[in-house]
């Protein structure tokens, strides 16, 4: 556990650096009252008024990517500990993991065939 204290320290220092950067800008930068220039505070839309709010529903594709991420990230999580002790496991471990990878490979092929990887 002791070895994680430096990590925590580094996190605190980097957080401090980031907050200091924000603080400098807050302290030194000009501050206009928010109502002074109403037009300026508009979100950038190439000079037009915003007609569609960005906070609305969007394509299902992005959810599909998120689902695939979970499946294949778990595969990666299983592979990491296996790869460290791979040489101790020898041939048995190798065949075992290749079966696992082939099963997931079939999954990838199915997703591919279904067109989930296509963007139109």
């Amino acid at each position: 556990m002791n070895q994680y204290i430096p990590v925590l320290l580094l996190f605190l220092v980097s957080g401090g650096v980031a907050i200091a950067m924000l603080g400098i800008a807050e302290f030194l930068g000009p501050k206009d009252p928010r109502d002074k220039f109403r037009e300026k505070m508009e979100p950038f839309e190439c000079g037009e008024n915003q007609i569609a709010s960005p906070q609305q529903r969007f394509s299902i594709r992005f959810y599909l990517i998120a689902l695939m991420f979970i499946i294949f990230d778990i595969e990666a999580v299983f592979l990491f500990p296996w790869s460290v002790i791979f040489q101790e496991l020898g041939l048995f471990g190798f065949v075992e993991m290749m079966v696992f990878i082939i099963v997931l490979g079939v999954g990838l092929a199915y997703v591919w065939k279904k067109g989930a990887l296509e963007w139109e």
Binding site: L10, V13, V17, P43, P54, I65, F86, I101
Partner: protein, 363 residues
């Protein structure tokens, strides 16, 4: 108690060194390299305007001028934006970029005045996993920035970066499995130590992993040719369209530090970390007369070699950035899922087969 104070002091010095190296040297230098190298590659004169009394130092002062200018800029938050999230996003981008350096060894282990100095902030057994875990936090920075800005361009950029970074995070993890099988460790300190011998450098047997990993890492960092989340010609500036002044420069700092992190990871895993080819740190210590003096000189040489290798890989990344055009979004996703993912699975299979058949002598 006394040794604990010593350890704490050592850690503080190392953290100060790493933060200073990144923010004080690499981040401003990369701002300059990006301009000057693009100028050289495109046969332009490039950055040469900012100067003091007529001395321009080949454009080196531009970064300083930028920093001073951006400090004094207004912190702009558009109407309807989530003010707290808008402020939090650049912090989430910068902190993981800096924190990923915790597990990267930058100079080796030495005995100095009876005290063992290990030049890494935290010698974790799961170093590589730590880096990947930290790198995935950076995704939130881009996504939150895109969502909180109340801007359509930002939203599109944020969505694109979410899908792209998720996809390449998976593949980046898989590309490195072959290397882990070769070195049998997830600790970057152990991997670095195993490369004392030049013939054990990762690049020799694991060069396909290097190509795949570098591609994924550049995509994960959203740089050209994979910069679809910020694509200037389509999305204005993508997820940081609505950022100005210091917050804007925080996103850029994060991106530059990630370039350094990628280079440092590649150096540690594939290019012999802080080792010179054919000369081990022990030999260096004895060449310089052994003892504390020898250890200090060897340590400085180790750090110097590490930084020089990082600079070489930064040069490579910048050359890629100024050579290739941006890919279309579907091409980016197809490359990740249809080429790199199967290729890295095949590479895992080939590495395993080669090790079992004794074709790849392991360390």
């Amino acid at each position: 108690m006394n040794s604990m104070t010593g350890d704490l002091l050592e850690t503080v010095v190392k953290i100060a060194f790493v933060i200073g190296l990144n923010l004080g040297f690499f981040a401003p230098m990369l701002g300059w390299v990006e301009r000057k190298q693009s100028a050289v590659m495109q046969d332009r004169i490039g950055a040469n305007r900012a100067g003091v009394f007529g001395f321009t130092f080949i454009g080196l002062l531009h970064s300083a001028a930028d920093a001073i200018k951006l400090i004094f800029k207004e912190d702009f938050i558009p109407r309807g934006a989530d003010r707290m999230m808008h402020t939090l996003a650049p912090v989430i981008a910068v902190v993981p970029a800096l924190a990923a350096f915790a597990v990267i060894p930058f100079g080796g282990k030495f005995e100095l005045a009876g005290h063992n100095v290990n030049l890494v902030i935290a010698d974790l057994d799961v170093g590589l996993l730590f880096v990947f875990a930290i790198a995935s936090i950076a995704t939130y920075g881009a996504v939150i920035a895109g969502w909180a800005s109340n801007n359509n361009w930002s939203m599109l950029g944020g969505l694109r970066s979410a899908a792209q970074m998720f996809s390449y995070e998976v593949t980046m993890g898989l590309t490195i499995i072959g290397l882990v099988m070769y070195y049998q460790s997830l600790s970057l300190v152990v991997i670095a130590e195993k490369q004392v011998d030049f013939w054990h450098w990762g690049i020799i047997y694991q060069w396909p992993a290097f190509i795949l990993f570098l591609t994924c890492a550049i995509a994960e960092n959203k740089r050209i040719p994979f910069d679809v989340p910020e694509a200037e010609s389509e999305l204005v500036a993508g997820y940081f369209t609505e950022y100005s002044g210091m917050k804007f420069i925080m996103f850029w700092t994060a991106e530059f530090i990630e370039v350094v992190t990628i280079s440092a990871l590649c150096v540690t895993m594939f290019f012999g970390a802080y080792h010179l080819p054919f000369i081990s740190p022990d030999m260096l210590v004895s060449i310089f007369g052994g003892g504390d003096f020898g250890a200090i000189v060897a340590m400085l040489i180790g750090i110097g070699v590490f930084v020089a290798k990082i600079c070489a890989l930064i040069f490579l990344q910048m050359a890629i950035r100024w050579t290739l055009p941006r890919f279309r979004y579907d091409q980016v996703m197809a490359l990740g899922w249809k080429i790199i993912l199967p290729a890295s699975l095949i590479w895992i299979f080939l590495t395993g087969l080669a090790i079992l058949l004794g074709l790849m002598p392991t360390v």
